[in-house]
């Protein structure tokens, strides 16, 4: 049995760490017996909650990916008959053709699911929960109960969103940005009936979940750090989760207000977003509202949201790149500074989504300046990652491959943001496939790569077993190649001006030249989607039958690797280790091993202490 085989990383042991035997001082929490229900379902253990977020996220990711395959089939082969999909889609296939309204529903649900349910809840929810207490040296979150509520609000929100897909009138179909009046008027599109109501209710619950989680993350990072863990010794993962939570806490309430006002407009006859509308043979009485107001409110969340999605990935990638290059992360302080810069700036760039909505052009100029400034901290991060690789001693674990892939995708997608942030250029590019290609690379695929990197890296800590590396390699290369095959050609389609959310391009001569390329993109997208099942198999197989992990399989410095292989509720069986140094003492000259964990005091590493560390050793 593979499970009993000694693993590839023989227990190097931490260099003379004060180590308490596990079975001597069991942490008190482990004494009381837990039923299945309190241990796995209504658990207050941050590690279990993290896994709940992860597995729910995986479910949503499969669904979100499947939806995208469906609409890519329509885009790639618009003339073909879709009758073979009738068993799945039922009445949404009409006389062999996909219903155009259902096409919009697919696009909308794909966006909503991926942005909120997978990349916000699945990514940040999983790793903030899992890593914050483990890496700062805490027994659990500040409030385990609130943390549990956070998951169950997310779960309720998920159920409601899932149900909405099966409604008679279809789920929300106004795009994931749900701009009114389209999203407010069922006369305009059937999805804006019950589907939209459920969308709004689900999203309200989702926001509550995010706020409960966020308050907890922030409180935990501020208050529960172990002895010695100053803010300047935090791993970059924690910094990124912390700032992500701050962003979420400040921006999600604004989305909540937008959703609330939209509910009022839809159900109670107010006119926040509606004015001068004649629809379905009838002039509505609403006047004085502004659809642009909604866009301001939406993007005030919506823009920080893309950083909420990408920052945790940045943090994890920084950590994984350093660990596997066996080098300190380059420019630790600059990395924190750029995270802070990005967080701050992310609140003042939202209107770059609205250059051509009729907003005052002067405002457009201001937001153009602010938007292009945000490229600077992002650039600093990229250079620092590259410098981290430079003269490293790189181990290509699957997590490392995904981290390198992340950097590549982040560059490729980030650069085109410089085009879109330029208001003059956005006139042509706005709402074309250029935008779609841009954000799928920079926040979609990159964040997914960050998620995968995180799962491959911390899987041993989550389940006490290793994911299979070979399958991981296959998964990485399939995905990396697939993603580029999908999104690079998509830029061409965008430069040619193809508008997004089009059911077909057959009606326009201007958009007739890329039928073959669209087929190619569709084929690549479906290929990349199928490739993900390698991961799904690997994931569930390895939970039960993967090779057993060692305590610190990656020879990493951070505190989570000082816990037992399967940490119980409370994380450390004995006292929580104290922290003495920053988390990136890799390959320090003079040190015996090429890593020195954070809990090793300077007094034990005389040979490698730097001049300024000598006095701390005494």
């Amino acid at each position: 049995m593979a499970a009993n085989i000694p693993t590839n990383a023989p227990v190097h042991g931490m260099p003379v760490v004060p180590h308490i035997e596990h079975d001597e001082h069991m942490h008190h929490d482990e004494h009381h017996e837990q039923s299945f229900l309190t241990k796995y379902i209504f658990s207050q253990d941050h590690k279990v909650i993290a896994k709940q977020f992860l597995i729910t996220g995986i479910f949503w990711a499969i669904l979100g990916g499947a939806l995208s395959s469906l609409f890519r089939i329509q885009l790639g082969w618009p003339e073909s008959t879709m009758s073979w999909l009738t068993p799945v889609l039922g009445k949404w296939v009409e006389a062999g053709k996909l219903n155009p309204e259902f096409y919009l529903a697919l696009v909308t649900m794909h966006g909503t699911i991926m942005v909120f349910f997978v990349l916000t809840a699945g990514l940040s929810g999983t790793f903030s929960n899992f890593l914050i207490p483990l890496q700062i040296g805490a027994r659990d979150m500040a409030s385990g109960f609130m943390n549990m509520l956070s998951y169950w609000f997310f779960f309720a929100s998920s159920i409601i969103m899932f149900i909405s897909i099966f409604l008679e009138t279809g789920p929300a179909s106004a795009g994931w940005t749900i701009y009114p009046p389209l999203s407010a008027l069922p006369q305009a599109i059937p999805g804006s009936g019950a589907g939209m109501t459920l969308w709004l209710v689900s999203m309200a619950l989702f926001i509550i979940s995010q706020l409960l989680g966020g308050v907890n993350y922030i409180t935990t990072v501020i208050n529960l750090r172990t002895r010695g863990m100053s803010m300047s010794k935090l791993p970059l993962t924690i910094w990124s989760f912390f700032l992500t939570a701050v962003l979420g806490l400040l921006s999600f309430p604004v989305l909540f207000s937008a959703a609330l006002l939209l509910i009022f407009d839809r159900s109670f006859g107010t006119s926040f977003f509606l004015s001068d509308i004649y629809i379905a043979g009838q002039a509505l009485s609403n006047t004085g509202g502004s659809p642009i107001l909604f866009q301001h409110l939406f993007w005030f969340l919506g823009h920080p949201e893309v950083y909420i999605v990408i920052m945790p990935a940045m943090g994890m990638v920084s950590e994984i790149l350093a660990t596997n290059s066996r080098k300190p992360i380059f420019g630790y302080r600059a990395m924190i500074g750029s995270l802070l810069g990005i967080s701050l700036l992310s609140f003042v760039v939202w209107a770059h989504h609205m250059f051509v909505t009729g907003m005052n052009p002067f405002l457009g100029s201001v937001f153009m300046f602010l938007t292009l400034i945000i490229a600077v901290p992002s650039g600093v991060k990229v250079f620092n990652w590259l410098a981290t690789l430079w003269r490293g001693n790189i181990r290509f674990t699957t997590a490392m491959l995904f981290s390198i892939g992340f950097v590549s995708l982040f560059i490729s997608g980030g650069l085109t943001g410089i085009i879109l942030g330029n208001a003059a250029l956005d006139i042509q590019m706005h709402n074309t496939y250029f935008v779609v290609a841009h954000f799928h690379l920079v926040m979609g695929s990159s964040a997914f790569f960050g998620l995968f990197a995180g799962v491959y890296h911390w899987f041993p800590k989550m389940f006490g077993r290793m994911l299979d590396e070979k399958l991981g390699y296959v998964h990485f290369w399939l995905t990396f190649i697939g993603v580029y095959l999908v999104f690079m050609p998509m830029h061409y389609v965008g430069i040619a001006g193809f508008p997004r959310r089009y059911y077909a391009f057959t009606g326009f001569d201007s958009f007739s030249q890329f039928a073959d390329l669209n087929k190619f993109i569709s084929a690549a997208a479906i290929f990349a989607f199928i490739g993900q099942f390698v991961f799904i198999f690997n994931f569930f197989y390895s939970i039960w039958r993967g090779r057993r992990a060692t305590e610190n399989p990656w020879n990493s410095n951070t505190l989570e690797w000082t816990t037992p292989i399967n940490p119980g509720h409370g994380n450390w069986p004995g006292a929580i280790p104290a922290v003495h140094r920053w988390p990136y003492d890799y390959s320090k000259p003079g040190a015996e091993k090429d890593f020195i964990p954070q809990n090793v005091p300077y007094s034990q590493t005389q040979s490698s202490n730097l001049p300024n560390e000598r006095e701390m050793a005494e």
């Binding site: 593979a2 085989i5 693993t7 590839n8 990383a9 919009l104 701009y179 009114p180 389209l182 008027l185 305009a188 004015s275 001068d276 509308i277 004649y278 629809i279 502004s290 659809p291 642009i292 290059s325 080098k327 300190p328 992360i329 380059f330 051509v356 009729g358 052009p361 457009g364 153009m368 300046f369 292009l372 600077v376 990229v382 410098a387 003269r391 490293g392 001693n393 290509f396 950097v407 490729s412 650069l415 085109t416 085009i419 330029n422 003059a424 042509q428 706005h430 299979d468 070979k470 390699y473 690079m488 040619a496 001006g497 508008p499 089009y502 326009f508 201007s510 197989y541 990136y584 000259p589």
Partner: protein, 355 residues
């Protein structure tokens, strides 16, 4: 039955795959490759990084060049050329950054792959190079912003006084177009007056509206600034004319505008492209419902003389719809009467008071 068969095949494939996987693990355990810390696969992955860079980079360059001709919608407006220049200049700068960073990423990955006995270089920071690589992007960004800002203010600035005015109104799912007529003034419209014939909601009590005319095809003269007034009567739409590099949302309750100067007539463009069927198209760029993908209008760019001739031929909405005009007359007559009596009453009162 077929579905069941397919399902069965899939399940069997999965089982075969699982068994093969298990077999692979067992053999690698027996060959001892799992106990080595850094194995052969490290080297394979490092090589794949270089292969990916070379093959991927090559494929990208080839496909880009191959598709370049199809990528750029032919330009037909003055600001379109400026925007196009800026776009490709920016793309070149981005291309350089893209190439350099990717070269570093993949070459470093290959060059610094794990070697037994080697130690990584302990290099935690270097203020000088960090300042340099913060400043360089900052300067490049600043110049891009400046160029963009100048162009943006020019494009979105006020339209020239002599611009031709016309209005485009989005509705589910087509575009309605009206011209101001001889008086060059668009008359009052009101969404409450919209019905099947009066699609624009003309208020024919307004004198300016009397000579307004609606058309199906937009006509504009070459070389003359055109001011598009844009509105929507139901949901958001987006006026998007890729050849003119024009895009602006149509917002219900909030009129928007965009002005541009066409530089090539439709005929000239047809000759240039060698495509006698070419037309300038107006597409909807903002999701608006079932027919979003089919909201098309044609724009015809005429020689100025032809435009004048075309304009003179158009009949006003009022002229074409005498019924609508008559109903407005009726209503307004009533209104005038009641107003007159009101006015008379007020007069009486004031005269009484003054007496």
């Amino acid at each position: 039955m077929i579905a069941l068969g397919i399902l069965l095949v899939l399940v069997l494939l999965l089982v075969v795959f699982g068994l093969l996987f298990r077999l692979q693990i067992l053999t690698s355990i027996f060959s001892g490759s799992l106990t080595r810390e850094i194995g052969m696969s490290n080297r394979v992955n490092a090589i794949l990084m270089i292969v990916f860079m070379v093959v991927g980079g090559g494929a990208f360059a080839w496909s880009f060049i191959d598709n370049y001709a199809k990528m750029n919608p032919p330009i037909a407006s003055i600001h379109g050329y400026a925007v196009e220049n800026m776009f490709w200049t920016t793309m070149i700068i981005l291309g350089v950054a893209f190439t350099l960073t990717h070269l570093m990423l993949f070459i470093f990955s290959y060059r610094y792959q794990h070697k037994d006995g080697r130690r990584a270089f302990f290099f935690s920071h270097n203020n000088k190079i960090e300042i340099i690589w913060t400043l360089i992007p900052a300067i490049v960004m600043a110049s891009l912003v400046f160029a963009g800002w100048k162009e943006w203010t020019k494009i979105t600035g006020p339209a020239p006084k002599d611009a031709i005015v016309l209005e485009v109104m989005g509705k589910q799912f087509n575009w309605l177009v009206r011209y101001p007529g001889r008086d060059q003034k668009l008359g009052v419209v009101n969404y409450r007056l919209i019905d099947a014939t009066n699609e624009f909601g003309f208020d024919l009590n307004d004198n300016n509206a009397m000579d307004d005319f609606t058309v199906n095809e937009i006509h504009v003269p070459k070389g003359h600034p055109v001011l598009l007034k844009i509105r929507s009567r139901d949901v958001l739409h987006g006026v998007y004319m890729p050849n003119f590099r024009v895009q602006m949302y149509a917002v219900p309750g909030m009129p928007t505008k965009f002005w541009f100067t066409p530089t090539k007539t439709t005929d000239e463009m047809r000759a240039q492209l060698g495509n006698p069927k070419f037309n300038y198209e107006l597409a909807c760029s903002q999701i608006c419902g079932r027919g979003h993908f089919a909201m098309k209008a044609i724009i015809v760019v005429d020689e100025p003389d032809d435009y004048v001739a075309w304009f003179a031929q158009q009949k006003s909405f009022a002229e074409q719809n005498p019924d609508v005009l008559a109903s407005f007359k009726q209503k307004s007559d009533k209104l005038v009467k009641s107003k007159n009596t009101d006015a008379a009453a007020v007069m009486n009162q004031t005269t009484k008071a003054s007496l």
